[in-house]
Amino acid sequence: MPADIVAFRRIVSEYGIGIVFILELALFSVLSPHFATVDNLLNVSLQTSITAIIAVGMTFVILTAGIDLSVGSLVAFAGVVTTFGLRLDVPLPAAYVLGIGMGLFFGICSGGLAGLFVTKFRITPFIVTLALMTIWRGAAFVATEGRPIWELPEGFAEIARGRLFFIPVPTLIMLTVFGAAHFTLTQTRFGRYVYAVGGNLEAARLAGINTNSVLLKVYVISGVLSALSGILLASRVNSGQPNAGLMYELDVIAAVVVGGTSLFGGKGTVLGTLIGSLLIGVLRNGLNLMNVESYVQQVVVGVVILLAVLLDRLRKGH
């Protein structure tokens, strides 16, 4: 192989998707004068935060060679549950605790249920979470009779609209979640077990790891983070929408895979997922700024996903 190709391969394999992301930023900076402004970039981070937080949970699940299709429906139902709690007849601070607590608790329960079916009853994650996906979506419509829940306490909308040192609160929450997830995966025993279970389930069990507990936990993490996203989304639209988060599962899986996590489990990082999420978010934003029609956008996003995964193949030298 010629030397320049070898060098190219080395750079690609070390920085991978990060290079593509930087090229993307540079490209849009040149193409649109409105792109590289502080306001716009903060805006992108805000728009990306909802799916990126879910993508963190999805990364845990996919690292164990599983999948969680229920995340989009969870976003809707957790939003509905939270807004329902907010309208209960209790004093304001308590209503917040109750509403948000109920939303998160629901996420934990849904994840626990998925984990239970995957571990105890040995049903493939795809089927379990596909069923939960339709169940929660249907439940959200049943609970709201198909109508959004409005008339929420003042200030709920401020969560998603609020800023701390100029940075949108959802962006800060997203960064915190990524930081915590990165720490967990790289520094703790549980993180190591997630990789071991995904790398070789049976070998992990025979090495004395409680594999069922690890699997249960990753689905709970995915559930609770989806619920958190659902609450943030409800705050952003200041209502509980039964059709919120439609097709999010696919956007999220795309972000995780573009970020280099293997669907076969055992390989991947949340750092990759962050870049994968931002890459897709920036792409949508950039195309919007350039007034590209939304139908065309879908095509472009699909093509970029294919190219990114192709790059990953190249990186592994196939």
Binding site: Q187, R189, Y195, G199
Partner: protein
């Protein structure tokens, strides 16, 4: 005997390695030519080139003196070359006849080309009859034993009228009886002028079935001779490239205290197994495939199904319900298939060593990398693991070194009883001895060791006592002086009479 195949100056390079360095190989019609060599010697690569699965970089192939261009498996098939890989290439969900004629299904009808299932079945029955085999043609291949699947593979090759048949490690999954059956099929094919290339790790088989033998080492051809002109020792010398001192370095040790006692252990499969294992001895467990060796190992390790009966570890009640509990009690299992049940292949050496005892290297919540690294380094030095560093991926290690990594894992958990299921399966002759020496060291240090093996010479060469299983029952325990190949086989085939009546 006419010359069937000539491979001349075959070269194959992979990035960084020369897998085959100008290798010559030939085959006559109606002979069994054995191909031996250590892992990585190039046997499989050479055969894959012949089968069109891998492209050669240089060299030529002559079939009956005519140059043959083999670019793909389809070319190889057309030229009458059949290869049976160790992990069979059959479709489990299809029936025997569908598998045998896969890709050459008979069809009927002029406009609608429908599958002619009747003719398919007839053709397959004919081939099976030719092999003297009685296999149900309508059964799904997934339900067949390894031996029957192999017969389906051979039938598949025969239905494509092969002139050359390559068998890659055909004995790996077979019992002795099934192997003898395979040999009679091979002899039958030989008498019909098929040229057979037989790859095996087990040298006994070379002497049983081979007419000629070729040794490859490090991608080069080192030796070819008629089997009757060579002996085992010189064959090993050619394979390893140096004189091996002793295949089985048995150390004599003093028997110590009882470490493990089984009293009437039964599971769904095992029946009333009782024995004791002592420190300072190597305890072997023999038995045919399906006799219950691995079931017993899994029960001892808490990874099997529910058991009845009593187990004592150093005199204390021991009844593990999970591998976790067994490990906490100080038991380690080195599984038969290391890649599937032992190692986490995407992880590196350090992570594989520390996996079962991470609590020893965490500080608060956080894994202490430096400590983890120094632990991994100290065990991998102690066990002489050959890897560039403990940060190397285990995927890049040889079979022997992979086994050492698992052993390091169990030493780090301070195991007092180690169970080796097929300790040297897939490990080179030279590296086997290393493993035996390490096992000796463990026994000397007072660790209890149990070896389960299907290789009788290994058990006979290393163990002080050998327990023999047959269909889930313990049929006898032989001391080193009593144990012979015949005595073990007699116990291993002591089937209960009533089980086979009617």
């Amino acid at each position: 005997m006419s010359d069937l195949l000539h491979m001349r100056g075959i070269v194959k390079e992979y990035p960084g390695v020369r897998a085959l360095d100008s290798v010559d190989f030939d085959l006559h019609a109606g002979e069994v030519h054995c191909l031996v060599g250590e892992n990585g010697a190039g046997k499989s690569t050479l055969m894959k080139i012949l089968a069109g699965a891998v492209k050669k970089d240089a060299g030529s192939i002559l079939l009956e003196q005519k140059p043959a261009e083999i670019q793909s498996p389809i070319d190889a098939q057309r030229l009458g070359i059949g290869i049976i890989y160790q992990d069979f290439k059959l479709v489990d969900e299809l029936t025997v006849s569908e598998n045998v004629l896969l890709g050459q299904e008979p069809q009927r009808g002029r406009f609608l080309r429908l599958l002619d299932k009747k003719r398919e079945r007839e053709r397959v029955r004919e081939v099976l009859k030719q092999l003297g085999e009685d296999v149900d043609t309508d059964i799904r291949v997934g339900q067949l034993s390894a031996a029957k699947r192999q017969i389906v593979e051979i039938a598949k090759a025969l239905s494509r009228s092969v002139r050359i048949l390559v068998l890659d490690e055909p004995s790996a999954a077979l019992t002795d009886h099934e192997l003898r059956n395979l040999f009679s099929i091979i002899r039958l094919l030989r008498s019909e002028s098929v040229g057979i290339i037989y790859i095996s790790h087990r040298l006994d088989e070379v002497f049983d079935i081979g007419d000629r033998v070729t040794v490859l080492r490090d991608g080069a051809h080192v030796y070819t001779a008629p089997v009757r002109d060579v002996d085992r020792k010189s064959l090993i010398r050619h394979m390893v490239g140096r004189e091996l001192d002793q295949e089985y370095p048995k150390a004599v040790m003093e028997r110590g205290s009882e470490i493990l006692r089984l009293e009437g252990i039964s599971t769904d499969f095992l029946e009333e197994i009782s024995f004791s294992v002592f420190r300072g001895e190597l305890f072997g467990i023999a038995g045919l495939v399906g006799a219950g060796r691995s079931t017993l190992a899994h029960t001892l390790f808490g990874a099997g199904s529910h058991h009845r009966g009593r187990m004592l570890l150093d005199g204390a009640e021991f009844s593990p319900k999970s591998p976790q509990e067994a490990i906490q009690a100080g038991v380690g299992l080195l599984t038969e298939d290391r890649n599937r049940y032992g190692l986490i292949l995407p992880m590196n050496v350090r992570e594989n060593i520390s996996l079962s005892n991470l609590r020893e290297v965490v500080r608060g919540l956080v894994i202490d990398r430096a400590k983890e690294r120094s632990v991994a380094e100290s065990y991998s030095n102690q066990l002489r693991v050959k890897a560039p560093s403990v940060e190397s991926a285990v995927e890049t290690l040889s079979g022997g070194n992979r086994q050492k990594v698992i052993l390091a894992r169990w030493l780090f958990t301070q195991s007092r009883l180690l169970i080796f299921d097929e300790p040297t399966a897939g490990i080179d002759v030279g590296a086997k001895r290393e493993i035996y020496l390490l096992i000796n060291e463990l026994v000397q240090k007072g660790v209890g060791v149990i070896i389960l093996s299907s290789e009788l010479p290994e058990l006979l060469g290393m163990c002080d006592r050998i327990a023999v299983l047959c269909e889930g029952r313990l049929t006898g325990i032989l001391t080193r002086t009593e144990a012979t190949q015949e005595a073990i086989l007699a116990l291993a085939t002591q089937f209960p009479v009533e089980a086979h009546a009617g």
